[in-house]
């Protein structure tokens, strides 16, 4: 009963959060030095052409009025015209959101695929050679920056072995999938380093807990003790860790999309910043913020489902 109430009412609580985010990004974007009209038209533009552009995009209005128009447009399903692409930002975002979401999804999926078995192996043989190796690799994984890691993966798997495409995104599902593996792996490797360490620690604590001892005393086989009594309890803190990291993860797509030349939101964001395309930057920032908020909301629901003790 509690859960349904939560699912219904929590989104309402998100409305003021999103409002705050929109105000902050709107103002911050306008603090970036540089004149969008001049960047668009180049250094030799005539004053009248500049003024024309400013009027066209409403840049000569006071900031609060610009914000008001922005909200009004948002109500009508528009986010304002991009100065660079000459189309509505919402349209830009909808066409480019898919590769980014797919990338984040692939990253998290691969990270769990790496972290869960390695953490399990490590925790169940604490102090063994395997355990030391896992800990060493996961520490090293934390140290590599993603742009370097991405480049190395390209050189090895795409250029040397020619197993996977170098960059881009592709059209069909199969193509997309093969294009996503390397960038997804780039994200997953650093994310799984954090995940493995937390999971391993939680699993070790779980294996030594009273719950595990009591289960063994009832004659449960060790594998059942582990997967049924240790892992579910260890997953709860991990889901929260993932949710906390999701903002960082989405930020990471900006770099990874650039390295792998994927036309996603991250790349759009970079280009928007360089061209002072206010509408694009604030649109993408808000999308990222919305995604972070929604993913944390989802994580809350998962946590409640995993652990009946937690009341929201």
């Amino acid at each position: 009963m509690h859960r349904y109430r939560f699912v219904l009412f929590r989104p309402l609580q998100l409305v003021p959060v999103l409002f705050g985010i929109s105000v902050i990004t709107f103002l911050l974007v306008r603090l970036i030095p540089g004149d969008p009209a001049r960047i668009l038209l180049g250094t030799r533009a005539t004053p009248s052409a500049l003024a024309n552009i400013r009027t066209q995009y409403g840049l000569d209005e006071p900031v609060w009025l610009q914000y008001f128009y922005f909200l009004k447009n948002l109500g009508a399903g528009e986010m304002g015209r991009s100065t660079l692409y000459k189309v509505d930002v919402l349209k830009l975002i909808t066409t480019r959101i898919e590769p980014t979401l797919a990338l984040v999804g692939m990253g998290v999926f691969l990270a769990l695929l790496i972290a869960v078995p390695f953490a399990a192996l490590s925790a169940r043989r604490q102090g063994s050679l395997v355990d030391h190796a896992v800990r060493l690799v996961s520490t090293a994984g934390l140290g590599f920056p993603s742009f370097w890691l991405g480049a190395m993966l390209i050189i090895f798997f795409a250029v040397r072995l020619e197993w996977l495409p170098v960059s881009g995104y592709g059209e069909t599902f199969r193509e997309k999938l093969s294009h996503l593996i390397l960038p997804g792996l780039t994200i997953a490797l650093s994310l799984s380093a954090v995940l493995t360490r937390t999971l391993r620690a939680a699993m070790i604590a779980g294996l030594a807990s009273d719950v595990a001892t009591a289960a063994r005393a009832r004659g449960m086989p060790e594998s059942r003790v582990f997967w049924r009594h240790v892992v579910p309890n260890a997953l709860v803190p991990t889901v929260n860790l993932l949710a906390v990291n999701i903002g960082w993860l989405i930020g990471g797509t900006v770099v990874v999309e650039s390295v792998f030349a994927i036309a996603g939101l991250g790349q759009l964001m970079v280009r928007g910043i360089f061209t002072r395309d206010y509408m694009v930057v604030q649109g993408v920032t808000m999308t990222f913020a919305l995604a972070t908020v929604l993913i944390n909301f989802a994580a809350d629901i998962i946590t409640v489902t995993l652990d009946p003790r937690i009341k929201l």
Binding site: D210, V211, A214, P232, N233, V236, L306
Partner: protein, 595 residues
């Protein structure tokens, strides 16, 4: 008991431990934690293994279960014979079929032993299906039957509940149901009631005894509580530092202990009497006076975070503690006794009036609050948690002096040394860290720290509850001595009626935030009038196997919740003077708790 068990059981033990040695490996050397332990367990008997912490009693039970945590601990010598096999040399697969089905175990902490993310029903069926492959429905039916056999109210509903939704007593019943569901030959209970309130302990002990009688399961009861031993055991093994000190029938051990250690242990056990022997204190100045104290905690909920419910932790409590006396507050967990302590030192907001040394608390300025800290000090239950592990004992005791800017460095050192001597610690202890001390010594450090500011009142919040009985007796003696010499007053908060009976001058019995009975030790213990007081006293296990409990109706029922919807409040109890300051709650809604 069937004829089979009586005829065969007399000769063939169901479990036989011979020369068991459990060692720990640290570094390159091995050290024995249990050494050369031998005993037989007859069918249907209850064998208590009693001892203080570090005696090796729990390790013995883990060794029997084959659950010694590898790799550091192992059974290095001896045999554990069960069903013609040596359990120590049984392969893991065969051992697993014995665990839970033929030898079951229940643990001290039912909350941490149950999986918090699985329903009670799922855990019960899992325990049954681990040994018998049954169809789903049948396993569930067996689970339900198991729950019903431990007399849980609304067993059907409990199946779909999670452990945190049950009370402590119910959780332990679930553990027992799980352990007995497969009708094991041996049930090992490791401190089964230590984490429970005394009235709940009584219910669980009654239940265990009944179930054992019905099923003929042999019971190994591991406990530190000689009262529980006396009530349950037919035979007793007393252990100390890994060795058996004495073994014999319970009657004999309690009546005529042979070993000196057993005699000391039994002498240290606090006993309940009729409250006589309490000295009548001269009328003295009051140190603390509470008038109509109320402490409530808001529970917020909903979208607007409005106050929907309130925890009525303390309701209309009035009491007075005089100079040089020990006032004890007794009651079960959640009755509000610790909250009163926190209110007195200003740690929780309160309504009503608290006067410390004649000064009302609510009028105090910041400076006045600092002065209050000098007058009232606290000693908590867990000394390890109360002492900063990174500070030396000497610095810990001197810290209050530093905070209150008292004396020069040299003077503080001198005073600290004096305090260490006062509480019976050697002077070189000042340079050591908390982890280098034993539990009792740590509590002495806490007491020394509390004494540093020469307070008028020391609040002891379950200060001896975590200590072994022999250590507990010595710490209680120290408290008594300090009171006599320094004229300190104590607010002694405890759940242990026997300890209270031994230390208190006056007693207040709390139930659901209110005092239901208060008076001198002689009045409350000699002539308990409120049904809840009687129930508490009746529940205390008596360390005398010959004691015959009055055939009162079995205790049952849970203590109601102190949480009330906003705007509602529990009925205020009216205290009536039964003569000589013996106040008892009248016309109360709690009358049914005695039934």
């Amino acid at each position: 008991m069937t004829a089979d068990t009586t005829s065969a059981g007399a000769t063939v033990p169901v479990l036989s431990v011979q020369g068991l040695t459990v060692s720990v490996r640290s570094g390159g050397s091995e050290r024995a934690l249990v050494e050369g332990l031998s005993f037989d367990l007859a069918r249907g008997e209850t064998l208590a293994i009693a001892g203080e912490s570090g005696s090796g009693k729990s390790l013995t039970s883990l060794a029997v279960m084959g659950l010694l945590p590898p790799p550091s601990l192992r059974a290095s010598a001896g045999r554990i014979m069960f069903g013609g096999q040596d359990l120590l040399h049984l392969p893991e697969g065969a051992m697993r079929r014995i665990r839970g089905r033929r030898i079951a175990m229940i643990f001290q902490e039912p909350m941490t032993s149950l999986n918090p993310v699985m329903t009670v029903g799922a855990q019960l069926t899992e325990a049954i299906s681990a040994h018998e492959s049954l169809p789903r429905g049948e396993a569930r039916a067996r689970a339900l039957a198991a729950l019903q056999s431990v007399r849980i109210a609304q067993a059907e509903r409990r199946l779909s509940q999670y452990p945190h939704e049950l009370s402590g007593g119910m959780r332990q019943r679930v553990m027992i149901a799980m352990a007995l569901a497969l009708k094991p030959d041996v049930l090992i209970c490791d401190e089964p009631t230590t984490a429970l309130d005394v009235t709940v302990q009584r219910e669980v002990l009654d239940l265990l005894r009944d179930l054992q009688r019905e099923t003929g399961t042999a019971l190994i009861l591991i406990t530190h509580d000689m009262g529980v031993v006396a009530e349950m055991a037919s035979r007793v093994i007393v252990m100390r530092e890994g060795r058996m000190v004495e073994e014999g029938p319970a009657q004999r051990i309690f009546a005529a202990p042979v070993a000196q250690y057993t005699r000391d242990l039994l002498a240290a056990v606090p006993r309940m009497g009729d409250g006589s022997g309490a000295a009548v204190l001269p009328v003295a100045e009051s140190v603390v006076r509470l008038t109509d104290l109320r402490v409530r905690f808001d529970i917020r909920g909903g979208l607007m975070q409005r106050v929907t419910h309130r925890v009525h932790a303390v309701e209309h409590v009035s009491l007075q503690i005089n100079q040089g006396e020990t006032f004890a507050l007794v009651g079960e967990s959640g009755c509000g006794k610790s909250t009163i302590a926190r209110a007195i030192v200003g740690l929780v907001p309160h309504e009503g009036r608290i006067e410390v040394a004649g000064q009302p608390l609510q009028d105090l300025t910041a400076e006045g609050r600092r002065a209050l800290c000098r007058d009232v000090q606290m000693v908590f239950q867990d000394p390890m948690a109360a002492l900063d592990p990174r500070m030396r004992a000497g610095d810990l005791v001197a810290e209050p002096l530093v905070i209150h800017n008292i004396g020069s460095d040299a003077e503080r050192r001198g005073r600290t040394a004096g305090l260490f001597e006062r509480v019976g610690l050697p002077p070189d202890a000042m340079a050591r860290y908390p982890h280098e001390f034993s539990g009792g010594q740590r509590q002495r450090i806490c007491i020394a720290r509390a004494l540093a500011l020469r307070p008028k009142l020391i609040i002891c919040d379950e200060s001896v509850s975590a200590l072994d009985v022999s250590v507990q007796a010595r710490v209680l003696a120290l408290l008594e001595e300090l009171k006599r010499d320094l004229g300190i007053a104590y607010l002694f908060i405890s759940h242990d009626m026997a300890v209270v009976e031994n230390i208190a001058d006056r007693v207040g019995v709390m139930y659901l935030g209110q005092i239901v009975e208060t008076g001198s030790r002689a009045q409350v213990f000699g002539n308990p009038l409120h049904p809840y007081t009687r129930r508490l006293m009746e529940a205390v296990p008596i360390p005398d196997p010959g004691y015959v409990r009055a055939p009162l109706p079995r205790l049952s029922g849970e203590i109601p919740s102190p949480v009330w919807p906003a705007g509602e409040a529990p009925q205020r109890l009216r205290l009536v003077d039964m003569g000589g300051g013996h106040l008892v709650a009248q016309s109360n809604p709690t009358a049914e708790i005695a039934a």
